[in-house]
């Protein structure tokens, strides 16, 4: 993947790029500590939609820096979270292992009155049971400021 900032045509070409993907297992100790940090009821175990995002992004197969580099950006450029949309078809289980697959769904250059030029990138990550059934989906957006453009 290039490290140069893509032009609008280049952005469009990145739509459909698939994540390498991977697997994520909800270990008891990890779930317990995340719930502690989140001030959640320990009885919620891995039932919170927040675990969908955490598992999906942990096993998407690239680091955040690598994902930024697809769009010619670095952490120091200040990429920001936009929206996050999570759907749980079935509750995630402590001890369960899930396959993560996903792709870039959208990428558009926009101009805001306050923010100036920025790129809005949408990506979808799915968690599948070992049986192959879809357990949960997380569709998120990232905002890449393009101040120099």
């Amino acid at each position: 993947m290039t490290t140069a900032v893509p032009d609008e045509a280049g952005l469009a070409e990145l739509v459909g790029t698939e994540f390498p993907g991977g697997e994520f297992t909800f270990e008891q100790w990890w779930v317990r500590l995340v719930n502690d940090c989140a001030l959640a009821d320990p009885a919620d175990e891995a039932g919170s939609p927040v675990f969908v995002f955490l598992a999906a992004t942990s096993a998407m197969g690239v680091s955040w820096e690598q994902l930024w580099s697809w769009f010619g950006a670095r952490e120091s450029d200040g990429p920001m979270a936009g929206e996050i949309h999570t759907v749980q078809h079935r509750s995630l289980r402590v001890g369960g292992t899930y396959a993560v697959r996903g792709r870039i769904e959208s990428a558009r250059r926009k101009r805001g009155a306050r923010t100036g030029v920025f790129d809005l990138v949408g990506y979808r990550l799915d968690l599948h049971e070992t049986s192959g059934e879809l357990a949960a989906t997380c569709t998120s957006s990232i905002i890449f400021p393009r101040r120099s453009r």
Binding site: A40, I84, Q88
Partner: protein, 137 residues
Amino acid sequence: MNALRPGDVLPEYRVGPISAEKMKTMSALMRDANPIHFDVAAVRGLGLGDRVINQGPLNQAYVVNLLSRWAGGAHRVRELRLRHLGAVHAGDRLRAHGTVTEVSEQDGERLAHCEVGLDVLGGDPVLSGTATVHIGR
């Protein structure tokens, strides 16, 4: 929950002061190297204030806590759509809130559709969005 109707307000969930120590632990759990969550000097260097900044998933979790306490478990939250509007800093006090907008039935399950949000007390909104919650059969 049987008498639930649009316009009903969920019991507020207040949280804070937000802990910098929990952010440190969360950075390790997420393998998130971004220093704005654990290094005040990095936050100052970026001109983002004098306090470390909470992780987005923790902010989202406070909204889930609101829904979980109301509906009887986080697993009842079937769908959650949230837009990030602002940052939470260590020491902030927050208010998660929600209002029922519709009650529907799908595959024999009753679902409540809600508008939800998270605000800094005395400050700006942090998250705004919608949730669909399973409330019974």
